[in-house]
Structures are given as structure tokens and as C-alpha cells.
Amino acid sequence: MKKVININFQGRVVPIEESAYDVLKQYIDSLRRYFANEEGRDEIINDIEGRIGELFSEVLKKGSTCVTEDDVNAIIASMGRPEQFDDDEARVQSQLGSQQYASSAENAGTGNAGGTGSAGGDNTTYNNIPHGRFYRDENQKVVAGVCAGIANYFGIDPLVVRILFVIFAFGFGFGFITYLVLWVAVPSSASAVIGSPKKRLFRDPDNKLIAGVCSGLAQYFGVNVWIPRILFLIPFVSIVFRWHHWGSFDFPNFLSISFSPGSLLIYVILWIIFPEAISTAEKLEMKGERVDLNSIKNTIQQDMTGFKERAEKFGKEVGEKAQQFGRDFGSRGRQFSSEAGNMARRGGSGVGHVIGVLVKIFVYFVLGSILFGLSVGLFVAGTALTGFLPNKNFVLASGWENIFAWGTLLLFIWVPIVGIITWIIRRVAKMRANSKAIRFTFVALWIIGLFCLIGLASSMYEDFKYRSHTDEQIVSIPNPTVKKLELRGIYPASDDEHYWFRIDPFESIDGDTAYVKNTRIRLTTTNDSNFVVSIKRYSNGSSRDQAKGLASKLTFNFRQKDTLLYINNYVTFTEREKFRNQLIEITIAVPPGKRIQVNQSAGGWGFEEHVDFGHNWYYYDEDNNDERRYFDYDRDREYINKGGRLVRYGWQETRDEDNSDNDGDDNDTNNSRVQQQKVQKDTTSGGYRYKEPAKNPANNKKDSLPGKQAKADTRMTLPTAFIQRFSI
């Protein structure tokens, strides 16, 4: 059972079997390619089509209801396949001949005869090239045939010359240049005798797994096809083994492995650059074999057996469609690459070719890297956001935001990911990938996703528009008189290291309460004799009032054990309150001569990695009437208040004494580790005055002055081993 379609062929309606139509179309396409460089291409093809049309009507006249595949094959056999036509040599010859007919009829006959002679002579003279003259041997070349040419000139094995070249010349570094000079200076064997073979890089469609790049390379270098394949696979396999790095989103690691897929990238680049060896002549060129009738015949016979095998494997139609797509892709790629560098390819003379190819490789590499980065970025974002999805109620407010968020996630991020994966699968499975409907659907969905993203972003911007904070509040610690205070972080009780997925700032979710590592520790000095701990709560919100309201809901927990001060390392908020970048800022004022150390575990996330433009980093402070200066500090290092400044305890102490008069000088080399955050000198004391909390009447309800606090707390902290826990 076969489907019959009607085609308009040379002005006649011809009923034809669909499979026969495919064969016919392929045949005419092959003619079109074969005559691509011929002057009267369209006319020739039109003539041939006309003749085929005539033969069709003969078939139909005989009483057949339609043209069958056998009919088409018979007609093609009588017309001859392009591979059976007299190939390149004949064309060159008759072109030479016809030029001569045009110029002078008298010489034409001899010209024709001469053409025949030279064409026949190619076969015999080719092997004689090496004797006497030095040519680059295009037939046996690996790079440009220089070594093979030398070998032929001296009558030795090219392998010997190559090895010598690599060891001696390349070993001393100037071999590369020598090679380039020889490449330019020595004529190619192809230019010496017209029609002699020239080895070129093609994609080999007959032995392909994906696009034939590896087998093309193997043909070019004359090695087993599995050698380039394995070379391409090794780095790829290594990514798969390192895949587990991706789960943690460890970015420096992630960037370092992004080079491994380079082989994939190179493959795709080569895929685009190498033309596919479609015609028999090209296939022979790929192998560096002489193009003549006999070799073409042999190749076709091989092709036929190969085709049979393939047909048995995949079924004819799939194969044809795949070939068609491959061809389309190849011709598109060729068009593109000819734009990139027209100096390269066909003319392909030496260095120009290499430079062209290098430029192309570079351009494609950059473009490919960008594309690859974008798709990996999308994938990472998609995975991260999907992982975050269960927690979305902690961030998103209104119903619209939910819709926008879903739209963004599904359409803006996952649709392109699915699109890319689909494309790759289709490509690998050799399916036709030019379905316009699918493409338009993807683009349309993505545009909807883009609008969702814009909606979500503007909505979120409104939610985060205002930032507000509560007034500074003194926290009474049990024992503020200690000589040294070491800050450590408390983690949420439900903290569990075995998350399958975790986004760094979101420490954990416990029921309807989220814990976010959003705390900041600032160090300053005080003239008081006790440590003073104060906190300030920040939040964003859609209005200033809402922001302040959210900020005031933040709780701060701490406990002290001797010199250890445990502070909570996170802010908590409920699903109802939402995440609005709530932050608790903890300020520790260090009394003169006392020491402070901030443990790695305490305070916020990303603290060490903040972007610091030089050392003039000021914390942004909305009310801006804060006169204290804050000190930059390293984690796990001990600092001491010396003359109103925090300096590293121990190693710089003695030298610091000498410079004590330079107090507050930013250029003070001894204080390079302790950078000033805010320099506002108190003229009365000569040091830096701590802003008395008494000035904040709002705080007096709960908190007393540091001095009183110290007195009151001495009673409570008598059993120092006892750990007290306080909450504000």
C-alpha cells in the first residue's frame, strides 16, 4: 500500500507514489548540486526535468495509474546518476575546450585533444611529481603537506620526516615558524597539476554517529575513527563524573568545569565549519584519493552496500529525511562560514585558510561559550527556583505574584530549557527539527514568560520599595564586665545538614517559620568600662510603616557563657510576614583594653565575600546621625581596643604604641588590618565617643544605661558556669 500524490512536473500534473517522489526529488537535488558550478545549471536541469516529464507521460500512457518507484528508478538509471557522469576532470576538460571554441575555432580541436591528453596525463604524471621538484603533498598531508613533500623530495617515509620535525624543529620552538614559511613558500601539488587530488577536511556522512566530524577527522589524518571519537569523549565523560558539583552551586567550581564541555563545543563548531562530503568527488577528496571515473565507481559501489545496510537498519524514509536535514544544515553552515571568512575554504591557499579557520573557531568559540553559559545559567536558575518553590509563600504576597512567579518559572525559564533539550534530542535522533509550529509555540510561551517576569519584578519592587528600621536598642548581656568577648552563632534548632537542596541565605524552614542568615555584626569602641551590645532591626516593605512593622517583629536571641557570647545567626519570619530582606544588625562596643573576637560561625552570610571597593566602605545608614566609627575585622581574630581603636591583639601591639598619636589616620600602616569605617572625631575626648543610649528615650523603657546594666547583672551572673538565655 502506497500513498499517491499529484505533483506539477514541467507544467503537467503527474500522479506519483510518495516514495517515488522522494527518490525523484533527491535525484534532482543531487543534479542541482552536481551542476552547482556549471554556467547553464538551471537550463540543464530544466532540460533533464523536461525529459523526465516526457518519460513520465509515456509511463502513464501505457496505462499505469501512477508513476511508481520502479519507474522513477528506471528513468534515473537511463538518465544516469551524477556519480556516473563524467566527473571533475571531464568538466574541466570540456570547459577548457569550450573556452577555446569560443576564442578560436581553429585551435579548438587540438585544444580538446590537449585537454584529453592532460586529463589522461594526470593519472600517470601524478606519481612523478616528487622527483626533482619540491611540492607540498596535498594527497598525504596532515597539516599542509610540508613534511610529506620533504619526504617525497628525498624519497623517504613521511613519518620519519614528521617525527624529526616534531622532535627537532618544534622542540626548539622555531619549527612552527619554519613550517609556516614552507607552507607559504612551497607550492602545493594541487596547483602543479590540475585535477590532482587534494586532501580536505569534510564531515563523513557514511560513518557518522552524530554529524561525521570525528570520522572526517579520522579520514583526514588517516587514523582509526575511534581515536578522534575517544578524544572527544574523554573530557565529556569527566564532566559527568563531576556532575555532583552542580548540586551545591559552588560557583568557582562550577566555572572551572565549564571548560570540560569544551569538547562538545568544539564538536559543534567543527560541525558547522566542515562541509559535509556529499558528492562522490568530495568523498574522495576527503580521503585524499584521486578523483577519476574508476575511483568514483568503486566509491559508489561501497556507498550502495553501505546504503543497503543503513536502509535495513533505520528504514529508508527516516534516512532520507535525516540526510536532507543534514544537507540543509550543512549548506546553511557553509553559507554562514563563508560570511565569516571568504578567504578560507575552496580557494584554500595555505595560511589564509588557516587564519580563516582560526578566526572562525575563535568566533564560534566565543558565541558558543555565551550560548552555553546562558543555557547553563537558565538551567541553574530553573533548578534553584524549582527547589525554592515550596517556600514561595515566604516571599510572594498577592495572588497575582503567584501567577507571575509560576509564569516566570515555567515559561521564562523551563520552556527554553525544554526547547534546548528537545532540539538536542531531535538533532541526535536525526529527526526533522524545522517544525515551525513548535518553534513559534516555544517563542510565544517564552514571551508570555517574559511578561510574567516583568510583572513579577515590578510587583516585587513595590513590595521591597521602602526600607526602614527600628531604633537602636541596647541588649543587656549577663556579664558585660568580662575581659574578652567571643561571638559565636546559634543555628536554628531544626538545622539539618542533610538537605537535598538548600539555597544559602535561607537557613531552614520550620513549619511556617523561616530562618534566614541575615545578620550583620559591627564592631566599635566605647569609653565605657563594659561591653555594650546593641541591635538594630531592618526590613523592606511596600510602605515605610509596613517595613517598620516587619522590622519590629524580629526577635533576637542570645546567651552568654563566660567569655562566649552566643547570638542568633538568623532572622525569623512567618509565612504571613514574608521575606522582605529583614536584617538584624548587632553592634558590639568594646571598652578600652578589652578584647573581642568574632567566630566564623557568627553573623550572616556572605560577610567575608562582600564586594569592597577599596577600603572606604561605609555602611549605608538611613538616619545618618551615627557618630560611631566601625571597624572592619577578620573572623576568628582577636582585636583589642587600644586608644579608641580596634587593633589586632598580640602581634602588632608594640609597634602600635609608637603610632598612637596618629590615631585615626587612614594611612597608618600598622593598622592596615583594621580599617576605619567611619571617622568622626570627638573633639572633647580625643577618642571616639559612643553615642549614649540615654539619648534614645524610646529604649529606656526596656533597657537601662550600660553602667546600671552592669551593676544589675553582676548578681545574676555570679554562677558564671550557668548559661543564661535571654530574649528580647
Binding site: 503537467r12 554556467e39 525529459r51 518519460l55 537511463s78 538518465m79 544516469g80 563524467d86 575555432a105
Partner: protein, 116 residues
């Protein structure tokens, strides 16, 4: 040395001469040329013929006219131009010279080759 290759090279050389000699005898349709050549035991493919005719036509040696056909699309009938006739004359002369030369060379040479 491949015998088939040499044979095809020889045939190629005389192909144009043969085609032109057929056309010289009168206006012909390409498939007629193929038929006539086949009858003379000189096989050629239509796919080879059409490009060759187009080239010869473009070189000004041939001309053609469209003839309506009952059994399909209109047909192209080829005929010789003045220039083509002149060209054919040259080819014919060369061919005769060549044929004589080959004949002259091949007949006595048989003796030498057998002795070798």
C-alpha cells in the same frame, strides 16, 4: 593502469565529435541522439548529454527551437549553427588525421610488440 579508465578517456574525447556529427545531419531531439548512439554501440547517458548540449549551445555552436509535443512538455530540438559547422569541420579533419595516425601506428607496431 586501469583499462576501464583508459577506455572512458578515449570515448570522452570523441563524444563531442559524435554528437556534433549526429546534429549535423539534421534537427534532432536529445533522446534521438542517445538512441542513434546506442544503435552505433556507443552508450551514453542522457544526464551527460544535456549538459554537453547546453555547453555547446552556449559556445554558439548549436541552436535550438521549441517544438510542441503530444506526449509531454514541449521538446527542444537542436540544430547546427554556421560556427558549429566550421567547428565540426575542424574536428573532422583532426579526427581523420588522428585515425590515420592511429591506423598507421597500430598496424606495424603489432610486429614490434609481439617480438618484445
Amino acid at each position: 593502469m586501469d583499462i576501464q579508465n583508459t577506455q572512458s578517456q578515449m570515448r570522452k574525447g570523441v563524444l563531442e565529435f559524435c554528437i556534433l556529427s549526429i546534429i549535423r545531419q539534421g534537427e534532432v531531439y536529445p533522446s534521438d541522439i542517445v538512441e542513434k548512439m546506442r544503435a552505433a554501440n556507443l552508450h551514453t547517458l542522457e544526464g551527460t548529454l544535456y549538459p554537453l548540449l547546453t555547453r555547446l549551445k552556449n559556445a554558439g555552436l548549436l541552436t535550438y527551437r521549441w517544438v510542441e509535443s503530444n506526449s509531454g512538455p514541449p521538446r527542444k530540438y537542436f540544430a547546427m549553427t554556421e560556427e558549429g559547422l566550421k567547428f565540426y569541420g575542424e574536428l573532422e579533419r583532426t579526427w581523420n588525421e588522428l585515425a590515420d595516425a592511429v591506423k598507421a601506428l597500430t598496424t606495424p607496431q603489432e610486429e614490434t610488440t609481439t617480438t618484445e
